[in-house]
């Protein structure tokens, strides 16, 4: 029987002088899309790089399709695509010659699929990466990642630098890939990407995983409370998180299970973006105390 999870990460840690990844664990179910979110510098790219030993973790284990990464590097990389944003390599070679070299490494490279994505993204093979805009470089990177029949795609900010129409296109490609049974993990800080296509999210904050669960579940954990004056906040007995100034008064997060019904508070449903900014405000406040 095939393993249920395409990716499992157990207790991954990496210590740097000013930052550390701390006991990162989460798993990704086959045939789903997971959004990996967190603010700049939260550890998204470091985590993704650590999956492939590009950053060498101090401790922890990673397994793909039930196989540990260590010892199965080649097989796993053949079934996986990793793209780290824009294509920043060999700036003065034509896309054609870069692809010609790249394709030879993959067991299941598919020229027809590659040609179809080139056309879809409007990429000219005779151009060099130096001649492409940032967005087009991202598209070329995606094009390479999508052309070797990978079962699992791990994409670091695949939508950053893309115009809204292209972003939509890329997200639609994700949805159709998942329909074919593929699995996708992508990092982003564009929250609407998640709303469009993610089944689950993993939220990382300063190197620690804050949540890893279905999008709806995460969203249902919180509500937004509105306060007109500072005094209202002080009087409120609820556990409120991440107070931020709003145009009129203040807003804060409240956890749904915290007995919010007992006290009349002006509240509304929380969007992912609101949850994120308030959780970050909470963290800021904690650090400054």
């Amino acid at each position: 029987m095939e393993p249920e999870n395409a990716l499992e990460i157990f207790h991954l840690s990496k210590r740097y002088p000013l930052f550390s990844l701390d006991d990162v664990s989460f798993s990704l179910e086959r045939g789903t899309i997971m959004g990996f979110i967190g603010r700049n510098g939260a550890g998204k790219s470091t985590t993704l790089k650590a999956l492939f030993n590009i950053v060498h973790p101090d401790s922890g284990d990673v397994s793909f399709f039930g196989l540990p990464y260590v010892g199965n590097e080649r097989a796993i990389k053949n079934q996986t695509a990793f793209s780290a944003g824009a294509f920043e390599y060999y700036q003065n070679k034509t896309l054609k010659s870069i692809t010609e070299v790249t394709r030879r490494f993959y067991e299941k490279w598919d020229d027809a699929v590659y040609a179809a994505y080139l056309k879809k993204f409007g990429l000219d093979e005779n151009k060099t990466p130096a001649e492409l805009s940032e967005g087009m470089k991202v598209k070329y990177s995606l094009c390479l990642a999508l052309s070797h029949n990978a079962e699992l795609l791990i994409l670091d900010e695949p939508t950053s630098g893309l115009d809204p129409v292209s972003r939509e296109e890329v997200l639609e490609i994700f949805l159709s890939l998942v329909e074919q049974g593929k699995t996708i993990l992508f990092s982003t800080h564009i929250i609407s990407d998640l709303e469009k296509c993610a089944d689950s999210i993993t939220y990382i904050q300063r190197g620690r995983i804050l949540a890893s669960c279905p999008v709806a579940e995460f969203q249902n954990r919180y509500k937004i409370a509105h306060f007109a004056h500072q005094a209202d906040i002080d009087e409120c007995s609820l556990n409120i998180k991440g107070i931020r100034r709003a145009k009129e008064g203040f807003t804060a997060l409240i956890e749904k299970q915290s007995g919010a019904d007992k006290q009349p508070v002006d509240e509304s449903a929380a969007t992912l973006e609101q949850i994120m900014v308030h959780l970050e405000a909470e963290k800021e406040a904690e650090t400054h105390v």
């Binding site: 790089k49 492939f52 030993n53 590009i54 950053v55 060498h56 590097e73 080649r74 990389k77 053949n78 990793f82 793209s83 780290a84 920043e88 390599y89 060999y90 700036q91 790249t102 490494f105 993959y106 067991e107």
Partner: protein, 190 residues
């Protein structure tokens, strides 16, 4: 350059080392290591591929040098006045020099792939010292002066043995360079 009548012939093989430096420099500018990391290969394969390519370049230069070494021997003029003559032992000793370069250069380079220049500086320093010592022995050490130096026709067997020993030392040092580099590169963060 082996046809220059009087010249420190070891320098000829330094040019291969310079080539290695440019190869890695270009790799750095093209972010070659990161590109390679995305391919379905193991991390140590990146080291293996680079060192293999360098060995091919070094061997090619050595093979290409052989006819010129032989031609230099045909000149009806005295041997090299600077140091070692162009003969089989020069090639053998140069193999040791290249092995030394590979060991110093790659061990440093795969710990700090961004510092191509520093790696090259250390490698060059190592082989410069080697050249100074090697050329000095061609004037001062009787065995080198009488047996290893001089035309190929004299002490041919010892000269050929020097070549074989040189090739062996080169292989051992380069293999050690690969082992050490692969180990440090495995734990390197990029």
């Amino acid at each position: 350059m082996l046809l220059i009548p009087n010249y420190p012939y070891y320098v000829v093989f330094f040019y291969a080392c310079l080539g290695v430096f440019f190869m890695c420099l270009q790799g750095r500018e093209n972010h070659d290591i990161f590109y390679s990391l995305l391919l379905p290969i193991e991390k140590k394969d990146i080291v293996k591929a680079r060192i293999s390519a360098v060995v091919l370049v070094e061997l090619a230069q050595m093979i290409f040098a052989i006819p010129f070494m032989l031609i230099r021997g045909l000149f009806p003029i005295p041997g090299n006045q600077v140091g070692m003559d162009a003969n089989w032992s020069l090639l053998g000793l140069s193999f040791i020099m290249l092995g030394l370069f590979n060991l110093i250069y790659f061990t440093y380079y795969y710990k700090h792939p961004q510092k191509v220049g520093t790696a090259f500086a250390w490698g060059s320093l190592g082989i410069t010292l080697f050249m100074i010592v090697a050329e000095s022995t061609a004037h001062a050490v009787p065995f080198v002066v009488n047996v290893l130096d001089g035309p190929n026709a004299e002490h041919t067997a010892v000269k050929l043995i020097t070549l074989v020993v040189g090739l062996f030392v080169f292989s051992a040092m380069t293999y050690l360079a690969y082992k050490k580099s692969a180990r440090s590169f495995e734990t390197l963060d990029l």
